[in-house]
Protein backbone atom coordinates (compact mmCIF):
# COMPACT_ATOMS: atom_id res chain seq x y z
CA UNK A 1 0.00 0.00 0.00
CA UNK A 2 1.54 3.30 -1.07
CA UNK A 3 1.33 6.68 0.60
CA UNK A 4 -1.66 7.86 -1.45
CA UNK A 5 -3.65 4.74 -0.71
CA UNK A 6 -2.99 5.12 2.99
CA UNK A 7 -4.07 8.77 2.80
CA UNK A 8 -7.23 7.82 0.93
CA UNK A 9 -8.18 5.25 3.54
CA UNK A 10 -7.61 7.78 6.32
CA UNK A 11 -9.76 10.38 4.54
CA UNK A 12 -12.49 7.82 3.96
CA UNK A 13 -12.47 6.87 7.63
CA UNK A 14 -12.60 10.55 8.66
CA UNK A 15 -15.51 11.12 6.27
CA UNK A 16 -17.43 8.24 7.81
CA UNK A 17 -16.71 9.33 11.36
CA UNK A 18 -17.61 12.98 10.70
CA UNK A 19 -20.82 12.07 8.92
CA UNK A 20 -21.90 9.90 11.82
CA UNK A 21 -21.02 12.24 14.67
CA UNK A 22 -23.71 12.40 17.35
CA UNK A 23 -25.78 15.57 17.15
CA UNK A 24 -24.65 16.92 20.56
CA UNK A 25 -21.00 16.82 19.48
CA UNK A 26 -21.82 18.49 16.15
CA UNK A 27 -23.63 21.25 18.02
CA UNK A 28 -20.71 21.75 20.40
CA UNK A 29 -18.23 21.98 17.53
CA UNK A 30 -20.47 24.48 15.73
CA UNK A 31 -20.83 26.56 18.89
CA UNK A 32 -17.08 26.52 19.44
CA UNK A 33 -16.42 27.64 15.88
CA UNK A 34 -18.97 30.47 16.11
CA UNK A 35 -17.48 31.61 19.40
CA UNK A 36 -13.98 31.60 17.94
CA UNK A 37 -15.08 33.56 14.85
CA UNK A 38 -16.98 36.08 17.00
CA UNK A 39 -13.94 36.61 19.20
CA UNK A 40 -11.55 37.17 16.30
CA UNK A 41 -10.58 40.80 15.58
CA UNK A 42 -8.44 41.42 12.46
CA UNK A 43 -5.16 43.13 13.26
CA UNK A 44 -5.26 42.26 16.94
CA UNK A 45 -2.95 39.73 18.48
CA UNK A 46 -4.46 36.41 19.39
CA UNK A 47 -2.89 36.36 22.82
CA UNK A 48 -2.69 39.39 25.14
CA UNK A 49 -0.95 42.59 23.96
CA UNK A 50 2.03 42.73 21.64
CA UNK A 51 2.64 46.37 20.95
CA UNK A 52 6.19 46.12 22.13
CA UNK A 53 6.92 43.40 19.66
CA UNK A 54 8.47 41.37 22.39
CA UNK A 55 7.98 37.70 21.69
CA UNK A 56 6.97 36.84 25.22
CA UNK A 57 4.52 39.73 25.44
CA UNK A 58 3.17 38.82 22.02
CA UNK A 59 2.11 35.46 23.41
CA UNK A 60 0.59 37.19 26.40
CA UNK A 61 2.60 35.10 28.77
CA UNK A 62 3.21 37.99 31.07
CA UNK A 63 -0.43 39.08 31.29
CA UNK A 64 -2.35 35.82 31.30
CA UNK A 65 -4.36 34.25 28.56
CA UNK A 66 -7.08 36.18 26.83
CA UNK A 67 -10.42 35.02 28.23
CA UNK A 68 -12.11 35.53 24.87
CA UNK A 69 -9.97 32.75 23.45
CA UNK A 70 -9.65 30.53 26.48
CA UNK A 71 -13.37 29.74 26.53
CA UNK A 72 -13.67 28.67 22.88
CA UNK A 73 -10.44 26.70 23.19
CA UNK A 74 -11.80 24.93 26.25
CA UNK A 75 -15.03 24.13 24.40
CA UNK A 76 -13.11 22.74 21.43
CA UNK A 77 -10.91 20.69 23.76
CA UNK A 78 -13.93 19.31 25.59
CA UNK A 79 -15.63 18.48 22.30
CA UNK A 80 -12.57 16.66 20.99
CA UNK A 81 -12.27 14.74 24.25
CA UNK A 82 -15.91 13.69 23.91
CA UNK A 83 -15.36 12.72 20.29
CA UNK A 84 -12.35 10.56 21.14
CA UNK A 85 -14.24 8.89 23.99
CA UNK A 86 -17.22 8.23 21.73
CA UNK A 87 -15.01 6.71 19.02
CA UNK A 88 -13.19 4.51 21.54
CA UNK A 89 -16.40 3.22 23.10
CA UNK A 90 -17.92 2.66 19.66
CA UNK A 91 -14.88 0.67 18.57
CA UNK A 92 -15.05 -1.31 21.81
CA UNK A 93 -18.67 -2.25 21.14
CA UNK A 94 -17.73 -3.33 17.61
CA UNK A 95 -15.05 -5.61 18.98
CA UNK A 96 -17.51 -7.08 21.45
CA UNK A 97 -20.05 -7.77 18.74
CA UNK A 98 -17.45 -9.31 16.47
CA UNK A 99 -16.30 -11.62 19.26
CA UNK A 100 -19.86 -12.51 20.14
CA UNK A 101 -20.91 -13.19 16.55
CA UNK A 102 -17.80 -15.19 15.74
CA UNK A 103 -17.56 -17.07 19.05
CA UNK A 104 -18.16 -20.77 19.54
CA UNK A 105 -21.30 -20.33 21.62
CA UNK A 106 -24.40 -19.48 19.56
CA UNK A 107 -26.12 -16.13 20.05
CA UNK A 108 -29.03 -17.94 21.68
CA UNK A 109 -26.73 -18.92 24.56
CA UNK A 110 -26.38 -15.23 25.44
CA UNK A 111 -30.07 -14.35 25.07
CA UNK A 112 -31.62 -17.33 26.85
CA UNK A 113 -32.10 -16.42 30.53
CA UNK A 114 -32.44 -20.10 31.34
CA UNK A 115 -28.84 -20.74 30.36
CA UNK A 116 -27.66 -17.99 32.69
CA UNK A 117 -29.63 -19.55 35.54
CA UNK A 118 -28.11 -22.91 34.63
CA UNK A 119 -24.64 -21.40 34.82
CA UNK A 120 -25.38 -19.87 38.21
CA UNK A 121 -25.83 -23.38 39.57
CA UNK A 122 -22.52 -24.52 38.20
CA UNK A 123 -18.84 -23.80 38.71
CA UNK A 124 -19.26 -20.86 36.40
CA UNK A 125 -21.08 -18.96 39.12
CA UNK A 126 -18.36 -19.75 41.63
CA UNK A 127 -15.68 -18.40 39.31
CA UNK A 128 -17.57 -15.14 39.03
CA UNK A 129 -17.59 -14.57 42.76
Amino acid sequence: MNENEVAERIVTQIDQDLADLPQPIVQKLQAARLAAVAAYRPGRPLWGHSRTGNALNGWGLGRGLNARLVLPAAIVLASLTGLIYWQMSSHHEEELDTGLLAGELPIHAYTDPGFETWLKHSNYAQSQQ
Partner: protein, 132 residues
Protein backbone atom coordinates in the same frame (compact mmCIF):
# COMPACT_ATOMS: atom_id res chain seq x y z
CA UNK B 1 -1.40 11.50 -8.62
CA UNK B 2 -4.55 10.36 -6.95
CA UNK B 3 -7.02 13.05 -5.99
CA UNK B 4 -8.19 12.86 -2.41
CA UNK B 5 -11.80 13.78 -1.76
CA UNK B 6 -12.29 16.42 0.91
CA UNK B 7 -13.67 15.41 4.26
CA UNK B 8 -17.45 15.86 4.52
CA UNK B 9 -17.77 15.50 0.74
CA UNK B 10 -20.07 12.51 1.15
CA UNK B 11 -20.94 9.93 3.77
CA UNK B 12 -19.73 6.67 2.18
CA UNK B 13 -21.33 3.50 3.35
CA UNK B 14 -24.48 5.00 4.81
CA UNK B 15 -26.76 3.80 2.02
CA UNK B 16 -26.48 0.23 0.74
CA UNK B 17 -25.80 1.56 -2.75
CA UNK B 18 -22.81 3.48 -1.40
CA UNK B 19 -21.08 0.41 0.01
CA UNK B 20 -18.07 -0.98 -1.81
CA UNK B 21 -18.45 -4.36 -3.58
CA UNK B 22 -16.36 -5.97 -0.84
CA UNK B 23 -18.56 -4.49 1.91
CA UNK B 24 -21.69 -5.63 0.09
CA UNK B 25 -20.29 -9.14 -0.21
CA UNK B 26 -19.48 -9.36 3.50
CA UNK B 27 -22.70 -7.71 4.67
CA UNK B 28 -24.96 -9.50 2.16
CA UNK B 29 -27.02 -11.23 4.92
CA UNK B 30 -28.05 -7.75 6.09
CA UNK B 31 -29.12 -6.36 2.73
CA UNK B 32 -32.85 -6.73 3.38
CA UNK B 33 -32.61 -5.10 6.81
CA UNK B 34 -30.06 -2.42 5.87
CA UNK B 35 -32.58 0.35 5.23
CA UNK B 36 -34.14 -0.26 8.63
CA UNK B 37 -30.85 0.14 10.51
CA UNK B 38 -30.03 3.51 12.01
CA UNK B 39 -26.83 5.37 11.16
CA UNK B 40 -25.01 4.10 14.22
CA UNK B 41 -25.80 0.47 13.48
CA UNK B 42 -24.76 0.86 9.84
CA UNK B 43 -21.45 2.35 10.93
CA UNK B 44 -21.06 -0.54 13.35
CA UNK B 45 -21.47 -3.13 10.57
CA UNK B 46 -19.15 -1.23 8.25
CA UNK B 47 -16.55 -1.39 11.01
CA UNK B 48 -17.09 -5.12 11.30
CA UNK B 49 -16.71 -5.50 7.53
CA UNK B 50 -13.34 -3.76 7.78
CA UNK B 51 -12.08 -6.34 10.29
CA UNK B 52 -13.72 -9.31 8.61
CA UNK B 53 -10.94 -10.15 6.09
CA UNK B 54 -8.47 -10.50 8.97
CA UNK B 55 -10.54 -13.15 10.76
CA UNK B 56 -10.00 -16.91 10.40
CA UNK B 57 -12.37 -18.67 7.93
CA UNK B 58 -14.34 -20.46 10.67
CA UNK B 59 -15.07 -17.17 12.44
CA UNK B 60 -15.98 -15.53 9.16
CA UNK B 61 -18.47 -18.32 8.49
CA UNK B 62 -20.06 -17.95 11.93
CA UNK B 63 -20.47 -14.21 11.45
CA UNK B 64 -22.14 -14.77 8.09
CA UNK B 65 -24.55 -17.26 9.64
CA UNK B 66 -25.39 -15.10 12.67
CA UNK B 67 -25.69 -11.61 11.17
CA UNK B 68 -29.36 -11.98 10.33
CA UNK B 69 -30.21 -13.40 13.75
CA UNK B 70 -28.27 -10.60 15.48
CA UNK B 71 -30.06 -7.72 13.74
CA UNK B 72 -33.42 -9.36 14.39
CA UNK B 73 -32.85 -9.00 18.15
CA UNK B 74 -34.27 -6.03 20.00
CA UNK B 75 -31.80 -3.44 21.34
CA UNK B 76 -32.52 -4.75 24.84
CA UNK B 77 -31.74 -8.33 23.82
CA UNK B 78 -28.51 -7.23 22.13
CA UNK B 79 -27.44 -5.27 25.21
CA UNK B 80 -28.26 -8.24 27.41
CA UNK B 81 -26.30 -10.60 25.15
CA UNK B 82 -23.28 -8.27 25.12
CA UNK B 83 -23.30 -8.01 28.91
CA UNK B 84 -23.33 -11.82 29.26
CA UNK B 85 -20.62 -12.14 26.62
CA UNK B 86 -18.45 -9.65 28.53
CA UNK B 87 -18.75 -11.69 31.71
CA UNK B 88 -18.00 -14.96 29.99
CA UNK B 89 -15.06 -13.48 28.10
CA UNK B 90 -13.34 -12.70 31.38
CA UNK B 91 -13.20 -16.38 32.29
CA UNK B 92 -9.90 -18.29 31.94
CA UNK B 93 -9.58 -20.67 28.92
CA UNK B 94 -10.38 -23.82 30.93
CA UNK B 95 -13.65 -22.23 32.04
CA UNK B 96 -14.52 -21.56 28.42
CA UNK B 97 -14.41 -25.29 27.80
CA UNK B 98 -16.81 -25.71 30.73
CA UNK B 99 -19.10 -23.12 29.19
CA UNK B 100 -19.42 -25.20 26.04
CA UNK B 101 -20.08 -28.30 28.14
CA UNK B 102 -22.71 -26.44 30.18
CA UNK B 103 -24.38 -25.25 26.98
CA UNK B 104 -24.53 -28.81 25.66
CA UNK B 105 -25.97 -30.01 28.99
CA UNK B 106 -28.51 -27.21 28.96
CA UNK B 107 -29.65 -28.12 25.46
CA UNK B 108 -30.13 -31.73 26.52
CA UNK B 109 -32.48 -30.78 29.36
CA UNK B 110 -36.22 -31.37 28.85
CA UNK B 111 -38.01 -28.27 27.60
CA UNK B 112 -40.04 -28.15 30.81
CA UNK B 113 -36.87 -27.94 32.89
CA UNK B 114 -35.40 -25.26 30.64
CA UNK B 115 -38.60 -23.27 30.98
CA UNK B 116 -38.33 -23.48 34.76
CA UNK B 117 -34.78 -22.21 34.53
CA UNK B 118 -35.90 -19.33 32.32
CA UNK B 119 -38.49 -18.41 34.91
CA UNK B 120 -35.95 -18.80 37.69
CA UNK B 121 -38.06 -21.50 39.36
CA UNK B 122 -35.49 -24.31 39.29
CA UNK B 123 -33.34 -24.85 42.36
CA UNK B 124 -30.10 -26.83 42.67
CA UNK B 125 -31.92 -29.56 44.60
CA UNK B 126 -34.90 -29.95 42.31
CA UNK B 127 -35.18 -32.93 39.94
CA UNK B 128 -33.35 -32.32 36.70
CA UNK B 129 -31.56 -29.34 38.09
CA UNK B 130 -27.91 -28.82 37.21
CA UNK B 131 -25.30 -30.76 39.13
CA UNK B 132 -23.19 -28.74 41.52
Amino acid sequence: MTTIAPAYAEAPGVAWSKLTPEQKSILAPLQQEWDKLDTERRKHWIGLAARYPGLPPDRQQRIQQRMHEWVSLTPEQRAQAIERYKRMKQLPPEKHDQLHQRWREYQELPEEQRQKLREGRATPGSPGSPAK
